[in-house]
């Protein structure tokens, strides 16, 4: 009991000591919190998107075959299907029609697709929530798109995809195949790419290899690769994230340096006084440790909570300028909170521990001083 009471006493003194430099320490806590907030926000955001991608794209097409000409993606002829349909393990092949439509009216890009189950009737479209909001068009309205030759084409909006599905459908327009081909003057007998279903998912790579052999100039993409694309999205090596990380590390180095570069004469004297009036070396070290922990722990806790609110309650509003870029159509990132304790713990050890340690190390030497030294100051 005495030990706990002694600890709390030491904590009391540490807090009094920190309050002496209110301005400096407040600034320190604020900046520290901001850095933790930034790192945690990035962590929560990227992890949630990656997790959601891995769940949502589980049933993406197993193999997609593209044709490349002179290094650019070209249209693929439907009769390629005959050449590869007999590969062992392939259960079905379909042509996929999709492309991009640039809407000059608002400067946005849409993804136009013909759904494989041919459910859309001619003259109708199903559109994403993002388009609906940007163009201010709703179910039952008419959507005007300009064909390749400038002709205005009108479509009846049958359905608007839910706002919750924005992450996959915000910019989507689904239409009938004939409408699609007319809109783009898309040549008959050609499609954008081919999609394959295989009997055994473990055979994907082998089948893809065979496709490359049979159809040189094509490029198969398998589902694993699609999923792995999103596993590494927002990887720390990506441009802006390097900058963020660099700035964060720099901040922490500055904080720790301030502490680790040694104690001022004033601090040394104070430690001498404490020792002279009866504090042991271990008490002094503990005080210094609390000094570091009070700042870093307070900042960490606050930063994490704020980051959670930022990402999952305000849809990462502070990241919006960065994520939006040149886009006009911007999905609201209403993410599902896929957070795990492991990440939070890692962030804790990376941010709190080094600072607490940086505070103790220089104090070690001073703490072992002979209490007698204050007598002769």
């Amino acid at each position: 009991m005495g030990r706990i009471e002694a600890q709390r006493n030491i904590l009391d003194f540490t807090l009094s000591s920190l309050l002496r430099r209110k301005g400096k320490n407040s600034a320190l806590v604020i900046v520290y919190t901001l850095v933790v907030f930034l790192l945690a926000s990035v962590m929560f955001f990227t992890h949630s998107i990656r997790k959601e991608a891995s769940l949502v794209l589980r049933d993406a097409p197993e193999i997609v075959v593209q044709k490349l000409v002179a290094g650019r993606q070209d249209l693929i002829p439907l009769d390629y299907i005959d050449k590869i349909k007999d590969i062992k393990g392939v259960s079905s092949i379909k042509g996929r029609l999709w492309g991009y439509y640039f809407d000059a009216a608002i400067g946005a890009n849409y993804t136009l697709m013909v759904p494989p189950d041919a459910q859309i009737s001619q003259g109708s479209v199903e559109i994403g929530d993002g388009i609906s909001k940007s163009r201010q068009v709703y179910q039952g309205d008419l959507l005007t798109l300009r064909a390749y030759n400038g002709e205005a084409m009108l479509y009846q909006i049958e359905r608007i995809f839910s706002a919750e599905s924005a992450l996959v459908s915000a910019d989507l327009i689904l239409m009938d195949e004939n409408d699609f081909r007319n809109l783009f003057q898309f040549p008959v007998g050609q499609v954008t790419d081919l999609t394959l279903k295989v009997r055994n998912p473990r055979e994907m790579t082998t089948i893809a290899q065979k496709i490359s052999e049979i159809l040189p100039g094509t490029r198969p993409i398998i589902r694993d690769e699609i999923l792995r694309t999103y596993d590494s999205i927002f990887n720390w090596r990506a441009g802006i994230l390097i900058v963020i990380l660099f700035v964060a590390v720099l901040c922490f180095i500055i904080f720790a340096w301030d502490k680790a570069s040694g104690l001022s004469a004033e601090e040394r004297r104070e430690i001498g006084i404490l020792k002279a009036i009866g504090w042991e070396t271990s008490d002094v070290i503990l005080m210094k440790f609390w000094e570091g922990l009070v700042v870093s722990l307070s900042s960490f806790l606050l930063g994490i909570v704020l980051a959670y609110l930022h990402v999952f309650f305000t849809s990462s509003i502070l990241f919006e300028p960065v994520l939006k870029g040149w886009s006009v159509l911007y999905p609201e990132f209403k993410l599902v909170p896929f957070i795990d304790a492991y990440q939070v713990a890692t962030l804790f050890f990376l941010t709190v521990m080094p600072y607490a340690v940086a505070t103790i190390v220089p104090a070690w030497r001073a703490a072992t001083v002979d209490p007698d030294s204050v007598m002769r100051a």
Binding site: N9, L11, D12, L15, L19, I49, E52, L55, V56, R58, D59, A60, P61, Q66, G71, Q73, K94, R96, Y100, N109, Y110, T111, M113, P116, G128, F161, S165, L167, V168, S169, A170, D171, L172, T195, Q209, S212, R219, I221, E225, I226, T229, Y230, I233, F234, A238, G239, L297, L301, I304, V305, V322, L323, G325, W326, V328, P331, P337, F338, I339, V344
Partner: protein
């Protein structure tokens, strides 16, 4: 009130909030199952391959379908789409073997 009491209360309050955060997250994950199912159904039905994260460029919109040259658009000196281009690296399958087998 003792300073150490105030501080320890602050820490305790934050730890409680943090626990609430985890509970809230778990609850939201449960509540989101329907939404996630809706999205994965759409992916399956419409044969989608990418999330709609960035709509400013083709290779940003369909990242997994991008090829080594799509970032160059029509010519090597075409503008980089910032900042989406600086947030995303090329997908692993492109980096490894230009998407070949």
């Amino acid at each position: 009130m003792r300073k150490s009491s105030i501080y320890l209360l602050y820490v305790a309050a934050n730890v409680i909030i943090l626990c609430l955060v985890f509970i809230h997250a778990a609850y939201m994950r449960g509540a989101a199952t329907d939404m996630l199912t809706e999205k994965s159904e759409m992916v399956k039905r419409f044969e989608l391959t990418d999330l709609c994260l960035f709509t400013d460029a083709r290779y940003a919109r369909h990242l997994s379908m991008a090829d080594m040259n799509s970032a160059f658009q029509d010519m090597p000196m075409a503008f980089e789409h910032f900042p989406s281009g600086s947030i995303m690296l090329p997908p692993p399958h492109i980096k490894r073997a230009h998407g070949t087998y």
